[in-house]
């Protein structure tokens, strides 16, 4: 199964859902998901890594190889992100899907410009709308985000050191 998964993901041009893989292999989705998980866990030290986001997966180069790949492909280092962009990105990464209002509440400042930049860079994407009044847009991180930061999945983000939940927010 792993052999076949590896082959399928090698020819896939973009992230593939587990169900698509299961269909192609004529196996149960749960079975495919389990095989993927097992495979991902054993990839340390290999040149290719399995990136996972939601129910989609993609095969990508190992982050350790980045300097060599850059030289090999003649690539430049990506432009640096502003501090505000990083902060907004961090909040979205941990709290996705999240609305602009919720991000602004956490940061204490207007974030529309920063969100626009991150959307343009392809690091975040719209993830539907919240059921709250006005149906605000929800944002989440993309596969580009994982690749940009050399992460295999969101589980690799360090645990957030959050204060203990205090009393309910006023009016909330």
């Amino acid at each position: 199964m792993r052999t076949l998964l590896e082959a399928l993901l090698f020819v896939a041009a973009e992230p593939v859902s587990v169900s698509e893989l299961a269909q192609a292999l004529e196996r149960e989705e749960a079975e495919v998901a389990a095989a993927l998980e097992e495979w991902a866990a054993e990839q340390a030290g290999r040149g290719l890594r399995l990136l996972r986001l939601g129910n989609r997966v993609q095969l990508a180069s190992a982050p350790e190889a980045a300097p060599y790949i850059e030289r090999f492909l003649g690539l430049h280092r990506p432009a640096r992100l502003s501090a505000a962009a990083l902060e907004t990105l961090a909040i979205i990464a941990y709290r996705q899907p999240i609305t602009r209002a919720a991000i602004e509440a956490l940061r204490g400042v207007d974030c529309s410009g920063t969100l626009h930049t991150l959307l343009n860079l392809g690091l975040i994407e719209e993830r539907g709308r919240a059921p709250s009044p006005g149906r605000p847009i929800l944002y989440g991180t993309t596969f580009d985000f994982l690749r940009h930061f050399g992460l295999q999945s969101l589980e690799e983000l360090p645990p957030l050191d959050l204060p203990e939940a205090g009393p309910e927010e006023p009016g909330g």
Partner: protein, 277 residues
């Protein structure tokens, strides 16, 4: 590891030296917002995030605010909102507490800012983690293009040039012009719906149809026009895709895969076409 620690230590000494020499610290950092500034002030004083700490840095916060370069009003109001809270907290800390009643709610207000600041700090740390990853340059790449697939075009279309296509069309039109001289039965009229159906039936049995073939089947100038029209109508309704690999190259008509079942499921589409004709 040791190396970088030494570096930071030196940098720290250098910064202190500068501060002592010049007597004041130049603000080099652009703050990302009021919480960012507040957190920096508290950390500079090495305080825990508490209401007392907030009260202690209130003056410095206001001092910074007064020197804040002119920014847009929305951002300034965010800074002012926090300033108002700070002043309130400071007054609460300094003044003897009034008994209960009004105090309860106010206490929560102060705690609210403390909690927000604590929460903000953890996200700022997370941003720091991301920044480290960026600095380390550990990116990864996925495949961006699919493997080259064998051409699905029929072989007979290969090597057809612009000239050949134009010549085919002209030849056909020339033939039709001659034919038209002959009297034709009036029943030979072709309607838009009929042409559309023809294309549809064709695409049911085959993955693609060439535009050139369709034209070749047309027996009159009128039919050529109707064929062209039918293709445009089908394309406009997103029932088919048109593909031309090169400029003026052969045009290949395909059924859109996502509307495969929709063709059958929407008889009203046909009547829509009938209305047009």
């Amino acid at each position: 590891m040791v190396k970088s620690e030494v570096f930071w230590w030196k940098a720290g000494v250098l910064e202190m030296g500068l501060a002592v020499l010049s007597g004041y610290v130049i603000e080099t950092r652009v703050f990302r917002g009021p919480l960012d500034l507040l957190l920096d002030l508290i950390e500079k004083e090495e305080l825990d995030i508490t209401q007392i700490a907030l009260a202690q840095v209130t003056d410095q916060y206001l001092d910074y605010l007064s020197r804040l370069p002119r920014r847009d009003p929305a951002e300034l109001s965010a800074f002012l909102w926090v300033a108002a809270r700070l002043l309130w907290i400071k007054s609460r800390v300094l003044l003897p507490r009034p008994p209960l009643a009004a105090g309860e709610e106010g206490e929560e207000e102060g705690e609210d800012l403390v909690r927000r600041l604590q929460e903000y700090r953890s996200y700022r740390q997370a941003a720091g983690f991301l920044e480290e990853r960026l600095k380390a340059g550990w990116r990864s790449w996925g495949r961006v293009s699919p493997p080259v697939l064998p051409p699905s075009r029929p072989a007979e279309l290969e090597g057809v040039s612009l000239e050949a296509l134009l010549a085919a069309l002209q030849r056909r039109l020339a033939e039709l012009a001659v034919e038209e001289v002959r009297p034709r039965p009036p029943s030979a009229r072709v309607t838009l719906v009929e042409k559309a159906r023809l294309i549809y039936e064709r695409l049911r049995s085959r993955p693609e149809v060439s535009f050139q073939d369709l034209l070749a089947e047309s027996s009159s100038r009128e039919e050529v026009v109707v064929t062209f029209w039918a293709v445009l109508e089908l394309f406009k309704r997103c029932w088919i895709t048109l593909e031309q690999e090169e400029l003026f190259g052969p045009i290949v008509i395909r059924r859109r895969s996502d509307t495969a079942s929709a063709w059958e499921g929407h008889p009203e589409w046909w009547s829509e076409l009938e209305d047009l004709a």
